[in-house]
Amino acid sequence: MTDLTLEQPPQPEQPPQPETAPATGGRVTVKANRLGYSGQVGAVYRVWFLNIFLSMITLGIYSFWGKTRMRRYLTGCFRLGGDTFEYTGTGKELFTGFAKASPVIILLYVAARFLPPLFVPVIYLPIIYLIPVAIFMSMRYRLNRVTWRGIRARLTGSPFRFGGFALWRMFLNVISFGILIPASDIATYGYMANRAGIGNLRASFDGKSSALVATHVITLIISVAIFAAAAGISFALTIAAAGAGAGGEAIAAAASGTAVIAFLVAGVLVMLVRSFYQAALMREKMRGLTLGSIRFKCTATGMDVLKLRLGNLLLLVFTLGLAMPVVIQRRMKFTAAHLIVGGDLDSADLMQAAREKGAVGEGLDDLFGIDTDIGLG
């Protein structure tokens, strides 16, 4: 097992020149290439505002072009080995994808509204199935429209099969009371990674969930304890309200309000606690990924993810969403700061592969409000 040793200090200035790290006992060292990000928060704000205003004027139709515009800007700001990435998708493709997926959306919507209540749970199964389908479609579309040095990246395979696989893993997660979540996360990521690539290079993934189990179990136990505490507080207040008699009404109102707050706080705390698992997962995803001779490394720690999430949450809450471009910028910078690409990029002579056919726009992801992220943040 070769390990990446990347011991250079971070190189904020670009273009980053690959350097050879000194060899350390027994480990194979490869050139470390830092990902550069040159996006400006002012530019992100301009694109973001433009998208909002034009979407309003066009009653939402522009949003597909707007989304494309944002992706194009952000993708073009990432640099690797001195060359920027490029997003080649178009708004028209997204719009067509949405139009194609809309019968499904309408069908589900109508079914949910007008079926007798008894049948409503039946609708949840297709929706749960369609979420991973939409994620895969979105990832496939987006990867197939990212190029670097003129070579297209790609993801192949059937979204519907992936949906089935993901549904199976979800089932396993549930019946194992969450114990199998790391195994499932690694397996579903591997499913996609093994079908991804760039040019003639196929990615392969041999990540192991064993590295995640300890972090997972600890954070899961803490999360359960947090929710139990929230439930306990709510329960105690309800009992107090019931026992208060005459003045009980006001107490009951206060109790239900406090319960809502308790669960909100619990949700945020759990999200923060789970940051440590998310960081471990990111690191394992990158550790297990290879692209020909190229290796990857993620340097994000649990604290890094926690700070990112907490900061983003506070930014959005206290500006009522107006800080969204700042949040986007933070995510992009996070990705650039914590992803290292190991290997000699110039000697990795990628060859263009045939263009993927039929990878249409995303469509379904709009139904679920999914915003897939390529990368880390």
């Binding site: 505002f49 433009l50 909002i52 034009l54 309003m56 004027i57 190029t147 263009q352």
Partner: protein, 398 residues
């Protein structure tokens, strides 16, 4: 002067440093490693990104769409750009300048303003397109969401209620299909819901001084049913929410519909229902002045229309009022508020009704006998759960 750029041939990832030589109609890209030069005609060139200080210009060419020429220096871009007049410009065209944004912002506000004004008007007209079954299921959702209390089904009381409805019915120009119900709820109110449901709350029966007074309020609700106001109001409300949700990208529109606020009507609707009620009462030979008395008795028609959301409370909470000791006036004021929160009153409404109302013709049969009125007041001595009652209605649609 040697202009340099970075070139990718679209076949392999290896970068070439090329020297650019510009002629009248084309430019020659000569790799520095001695491989063969490439000629790009300006008219075939596609501009993907223009140069800016942070990012290189990115050019491609029609016959080799995967090839990329990255112009990374301002000098090279300055030299090449004037020749690109005939090239296909696919660079992001909409200006993100702050001035343009302000223009779009103003336009967006105007469009939203117009939409807020017009969409409710036109959405309401779509109400006639909604199939009966859909309207009924919507009505049931609304009723179930607002009243958990059981439905009053005492036989004698129901018979008296039916007699009242049939008497009002004799005053209608054409028969009206609707589903009446009395709900065991303390609020003084009556509601017309989509799907032609007319919901009378028990609080109203307790509050009125005579069956004629109640008949007036019920006839008013039938007016709403006649004009399809509930569905129109709902569509107006949904039309706007739909618009908002489309722009915001949210799909939880109907969740908000389960509130009484969606059932509040405009003043024109209320006036139309009042006129309908008075006409019906007159034709049925009932004393329309009693209907006016209902309003007058609740006094103070300067009551501001309370926003429906503020009072949108569930029945159980409303039922909790009895726990609080309060003087009669404030209790009465609250009841008035209950009614007018969903029935906007204008100061001249009572006067209008009073002016239009006619006394019952001499010798007209009374609406209900004292015994029947007593029965109706006891209609809640036997009840059925709301769910069961609604389910039973499924079988026997009017």
């Amino acid at each position: 002067m040697a202009l340099q750029a970075r070139y990718f041939d679209g076949m392999r990832s290896r970068p070439y440093t090329v020297a650019l030589a510009v002629s009248e109609t084309s430019m020659r890209l000569t790799p520095d490693d001695g491989s063969a030069a490439v000629i790009w005609k300006f008219e075939d060139i596609v501009i993907l990104d223009k140069y800016d200080s942070d990012h290189p210009a990115r050019l491609s060419v029609r016959h080799t769409p995967d090839a990329r020429l990255m112009i990374e220096s301002a000098a090279a871009w300055k030299a090449v750009a004037p020749y690109l007049q005939t090239a296909h410009d696919h660079s992001p065209r909409l200006s993100g300048a702050w001035g343009t944004l302000v223009l779009y912002a103003v336009l967006a506000v105007m469009v939203v303003g117009l939409a807020v004004y017009y969409v409710p008007r036109y959405a309401a007209n779509l109400a006639s397109l909604v199939p009966d079954s859909a309207a009924r299921s919507l009505g049931e959702r609304v009723i179930a969401a607002n009243f958990d209390n059981p439905v009053c089904v005492d036989e004698k009381g129901s018979a008296a209620f039916a007699k009242m409805l049939s008497r009002i019915g004799t005053g209608l120009e054409k028969p009206l299909r609707y589903t009446p119900m009395v709900v065991k709820d303390e609020m003084t109110n009556a509601v017309a819901a989509p799907g032609d449901y007319v919901v009378v709350l028990k609080g109203l029966i307790d509050d009125v001084k005579s069956p004629e007074e109640m008949a007036g309020v019920v006839a008013h609700e039938l007016g709403h049913v006649h004009y399809n106001h509930p569905l129109r109001g709902m569509m107006r409300y949904l039309g706007f929410s739909f618009l908002v949700s489309m722009m915001v990208g949210d799909s939880t529109v109907l969740d908000a519909a389960g509130t009484l606020s969606a059932l509040s009507f405009g003043r024109e609707d209320e006036a139309a229902a009042d006129d309908f009620a008075i006409a019906a009462l007159t034709r049925a030979g009932l004393d329309g002045r009693r209907f006016a008395e209902f309003f007058e008795r609740h006094g103070g028609f300067s009551i501001e229309v309370k926003t429906p959301d503020a009072k949108n409370k569930n029945a159980p909470e409303a039922g909790g009022h009895k726990d609080k000791p309060k003087n009669k006036d404030s209790a009465r004021a609250e009841k008035v508020m209950e009614y007018f929160s969903s029935h906007p009153a204008s100061s001249d409404r009572a006067a209008k009704i009073r002016a239009a109302a006619k006394p019952a013709p001499a010798g007209a049969a009374p609406l209900l006998t004292p015994q029947e009125w007593q029965d109706l007041q006891k209609i809640c001595s036997k009840t059925q759960p709301m769910d069961a009652w609604l389910a039973a209605q499924e079988g026997q649609k009017p």
